[in-house]
């Protein structure tokens, strides 16, 4: 998909719905990298930051040529570094494709505060939903 063809709102590409939906505006998309703003401010516990990173990786994988549809699932999380277990405010989610392997897309993700401080980073592997042994 060309950047110009992208809807501005991540919700149109994801099947998450509130309160599970954590992504708002797609701030930037360039082939193998994406930046999304959170759809809310307020208090963030680290699992929510990680879930937002996973949603961003899933969205990016779906935008790749031959990428999965919105039923993609998370197969693996790796090297998750929790810098800030709790955050108050808005959040920016960054993801970049690191590797593609037969139906799997591994993305490096970074979650930052609205002021640019790093809150969490993780490698997220996205799989097609058809894989019976993947999850979430």
């Amino acid at each position: 998909m060309n950047p110009g063809d992208l809807p501005g709102d991540a919700a149109t590409l994801l099947r998450h719905r509130p309160p599970a939906l954590l992504l708002g505006t797609i701030v930037r998309f360039e082939d193998t990298a994406i930046v999304c703003a959170s759809c809310r401010a307020g208090r963030w516990e680290w699992p929510a930051l990680l879930e937002g990173a996973a949603q961003t990786a899933g969205l990016l994988a779906g935008l790749q040529p031959g990428g999965p549809d919105n039923r993609a699932v998370i197969a693996e999380l790796r090297d998750v570094r929790i810098v800030a277990p709790v955050h108050d405010g808005s959040v920016m989610f960054h993801a970049a494709v690191e590797r593609r392997l037969a139906g799997f897309w591994r993305c490096q993700t970074v979650v930052q505060s609205e002021h640019g401080s790093r809150l969490l980073e993780a490698r997220v592997t996205v799989a097609r939903s058809a894989r019976p042994s993947a999850c979430a």
Partner: protein, 115 residues
């Protein structure tokens, strides 16, 4: 020892076993996904980290690092979820989430600076 997440927690030496409240599992599925609910990957890791924190003697503490979490099959909110943790090293806990005898998720967690 019930918590908001666990109906029961049993600890014996370096291992812990807990059952997740069905109500809590249902809460974590809200919006994920309507008509096809299953627990988000991050929520599952969060549940496993809660048990890990209890096991290392710091309830409520977040892990510093999730070295690796593998998701074998989706976890549905109506299923009975058992979490097992084993303290592997001073600051490291290996955890599994099971439904019956089936392992659904494995995660290796590292807690820095724990007692």
């Amino acid at each position: 020892m019930p918590t908001r997440t666990f109906a029961t927690v049993a600890i014996a030496r370096d291992t812990a076993r807990a059952w997740v409240h069905p109500r809590r599992a249902a809460e974590l599925c809200a919006g994920h996904f309507p008509g096809d609910p299953f627990l988000p990957a991050a929520a599952l890791v969060g549940i496993m980290a809660e048990l890990g924190a209890i096991l290392v003697g710091s309830p409520g503490r977040a892990p510093a690092v999730v070295e690796r979490a593998l998701f074998h099959r989706p976890v549905r909110p109506h299923e009975q979820l058992e979490v097992i943790g084993e303290r592997a090293e001073m600051h490291t806990v290996a955890t599994e989430l099971r439904v019956g005898s089936e392992r659904r998720v494995q995660a290796l967690l590292r807690f820095d600076g724990c007692p």
